[in-house]
Symmetry: C2
DNA sequence: TCCATTTTAATAATCATTATAACCTTACAA
DNA sequence: TTGTAAGGTTATAATGATTATTAAAATGGA
């Protein structure tokens, strides 16, 4: 999986009309280049190291503003919680129901069809803003370390 | 959108090892042929008419057992709640962020690519069980009845 | 440096979903 | 039929992610 590196800068924060705070700079640092698709809680816990009094609302607020501005993606692939992805170039996701990790899947590996839905802006007359392709199953690692198909479906 | 009609019968409940109860029969009746992608609450409220003391747990329990058996799909397209779809043949979904309706999108209108992910069982070594394609935006009706792009993104 | 504005932190509220436990019903077989 | 074990239903509480609220603190332009 090679996805073009993207990096959110403090200048972009300002361009979005957001103030630059230490909390936000730290959050950007955690997000930039991150391919683990962290949840808000993952990020919160990492931020706790440097900001022992940081609040959940701070994390959620900034994340949703970044998502609103299209700087990150809010993924809907984890049945339990939102996951965040700083890579906004078109790609899909695979969720392992055993280890709950989220893997990138290139959009060269895509559902087939006559039209290219990924870049579609109109489908059946509806205006399409986002397209998410969610694959779910058991990842290679969990499959390999599993004796006798414990995780059938 | 034409999707092959599928119908869940009481015999199928029994084959699943589930007992046939009036509540479950009523739920099947609500689901069969239903193209509105109802939430658990939608179904609960419809069931309340005939079963004034029905509980939410009954609805959720049966829905998750039906989903487990592959008789219905649990959709992840609505950011707020699960939506349920009795049509299990491959197709995609469009969610309108204004009216919150979910529309079917044929899998003939699909993200393009070399491989057919919809039927893929292996991607990058991972075992794929389900593939969901989620489109989101503003539906035709809401777009048409909207003055001057109130719903940009 | 000042100050209007935004952000943060702490806390409470929300809300969909899941868990629990007592009671009830179904299916099956005697 | 009718008894009974297994499973289902209801009512309720618990869970857990996310959102809302508000006073205090920090930011950034003047």
């Amino acid at each position: 999986m090679i996805i073009k590196m993207e990096r959110i800068t403090v200048v972009e924060l300002q361009q979005m009309g957001l103030k630059v705070t230490p909390q936000r700079e730290a959050l950007l640092k955690l997000l930039n280049g991150n391919e683990t698709h962290p949840s808000a809680e993952d990020l919160y816990h990492k931020l706790l190291r440097r900001f022992p009094r940081i609040s959940f609302a701070t994390v959620y607020n900034t994340l949703s503003k970044l998502a609103e501005a299209g700087k990150i993606q809010e993924l809907d692939i984890d049945p339990q919680r939102k996951r965040f992805d700083p890579f906004t170039a078109p790609h899909h996701h695979f969720y392992c129901k055993v280890c709950r990790r989220v893997f990138n899947v290139g959009d060269d590996v895509s559902p087939s069809g006559a039209e290219n839905l990924l870049n579609a802006t109109d489908v059946n007359g509806h205006r399409v803003d986002t397209v998410h392709v969610n694959l779910r199953g058991v990842c290679k690692d969990c499959k390999d370390s599993d004796e006798a198909g414990k995780w059938q479906q």
